[in-house]
């Protein structure tokens, strides 16, 4: 790792293995994330990024290995417990609460910290403003565009006041024009003192955002380093970037 004197990591993934039937999706993977860092998980389809993400988020329990977050082992904790501990996530395929308004969607995240619904609403509105959805605050979430839904996902997750935010393909499925805005938004989240893990395909996004990237293939780590180092890594180029230069 880059850091000569690593602080206590916020997240420590230790030797996780996860198999589905006979297929080993993640094989003995270990890494840690320092406070304030943005770590990118990259790799081709089927590399095990999403499984890793799900194991950290609590969707799956790993077959082997442990996950330690903020000093507590959370390997088998339910997602709602992880959320209360300060770990939030967004969904690649956005999951808005269709019949709630945008503000109410964000309130679902905010009620964890508020006794009163009125207070939760005030705080929710702040995050709605922060992600730039102020004008849509009172429409039902089902009326949002894809890019707006991604923003809503972030506002909701932020409302839980996380220490670590997992972002699953923030720019996936979004038109090119919306990408810079989303990148700016993620930078602003980091400005709030947040630690982030992002899954991302778009090399430009990774270069702009990530401090460090882990390149995965077939469930194992193939390379690790700064985005620039990863982009120069021969095996990575062969596997991923070489075929599609336009990506970068």
């Amino acid at each position: 790792m880059q850091n000569p004197t690593p602080a206590t990591p916020l997240l420590k993934v230790d030797g996780i293995t996860m198999a589905f039937g006979g297929i080993v999706a993640v094989d003995n993977l270990s890494f840690s994330v320092q406070p304030g860092e943005i770590l990118a998980l990259m790799g081709p389809n089927g590399a095990g990024k999403t499984t890793t993400f799900h194991v950290i988020a609590g969707v799956h329990s790993p077959d082997h290995g442990t996950i330690t977050f903020d000093g507590h082992e959370i390997t088998r904790a339910r997602p709602d417990r992880r959320c209360r501990a300060g770990l939030a996530r967004t969904f690649q395929i956005t999951q808005p609460f269709d019949e709630l308004t945008v503000v109410e969607n964000v309130m679902v995240g905010a009620i964890a910290h508020h006794r009163s619904m009125a207070e939760a609403r005030v705080e929710a509105r702040r995050y709605v403003d922060m992600v730039g959805l102020s004008e849509r605050a009172d429409i039902l979430a089902k009326g949002l565009s894809t890019g707006q839904r991604k923003r809503l996902e972030m506002a909701r997750a932020m409302a839980t006041r996380p220490k670590l935010l997992l972002l699953d393909e923030v720019t996936g499925g979004v038109d090119m024009a919306s990408v810079p805005g989303l990148i700016d938004l993620v930078k602003r989240l980091r400005g709030e003192g947040l630690t982030l893990i992002i899954i991302e395909h778009n090399m430009r996004v990774i270069t702009e955002l990530a401090d460090r990237a882990i390149f995965m293939n077939r469930g194992v780590r193939m390379a690790e380093g700064t985005p620039a180092e990863i982009a120069r890594h021969p095996e990575v180029i062969e596997l991923y970037l070489g075929e599609d230069d336009g990506h970068g």
């Binding site: 609590g58 997602p79 959320c83 009620i111 909701r156 997750a157």
Partner: protein, 327 residues
Amino acid sequence: MFQPVKPSQWLVIAAAILVMAAVPLVTRNSYLLHVLILTMIFGIFASAWNLVAGFGGMKTFGHHAFFGIGAYVSALLSIKAGWSPWLTIWFGALAATGAGLFIGLPILRIKSMSHVAIVTLGFAEIVRIVISNLQTITRGELGLWGIRPFEGFTLPFFGEITFSPADKVPYYYLILLLLIGSTAVIMLLMRSRTGLSIIAMRDAEDAAESLGVNLTRQKLLVFAVSAFLVGIAGAFYAHYISILTPTAAVGIDLMILVIAMALVGGLSTFSGPLVGALLLTGTVELLRDLDQYRLLVYGAMIILIVMFLPKGLTTLGPVLRKRFASR
């Protein structure tokens, strides 16, 4: 739903309560009061089912079990133990709550709603069969009769209040109070964090859980509240009708009728199940003259409403406004 109640909405609520409270002052027609009492029993039942199935999105088809359990437990305690119905109705409701938690726990883990429907339906059928076979206690299909009515009491300014088949007015006011209480409980619950959580859970369960919603706790809570309310409606029914049979108190017909009420009135709304209960209970009675064609007309009416107002009668206003605005 989570915005403060507007003055105009308070006005509608106050007007509805006033109109209902004024009916016995205008007419003491025993038949009309009976129909309205049944309407209010069904109003509680349909609202409570809507809490779980509409707001909560859990498609349970076995709520008639809670109605029957509430009715039989309250009736049997008052007969066998000699306790006052004023007390036993709460035990009936608690028994229904217990049953709700018992069936609620396993179905929480089932993600497929059609399976939830079948499991709950099966559970209710088991309850019905057990009640019909426990003849030494429940008298089975012969019917449990001689259920004690509520004891009378003296109210200042009103004098002696007696609950008897001859005078339906006390029953009318009692069930009106229970209906107001149930509706208030449902509205307060839905406007709270729990309400927000269960709607979130219905729309996107994984997302709700990732935002800190404890799915098990919230689902069990609404299931228990719903079973309690249905149980109290069942218990009131027992002491009002004073005779229970498994078919009448735990029959599947009851559940189908209640589902129809919620759908016709409007699922996931506060007023929908109440409007549906009024319309369908009322229509059944109005159509009695049609004799065997009654069910035909009744069915056609439900189909028409569901076809043209899929979100229920309570959306009639907005739908019409849209129609006229677009011309």
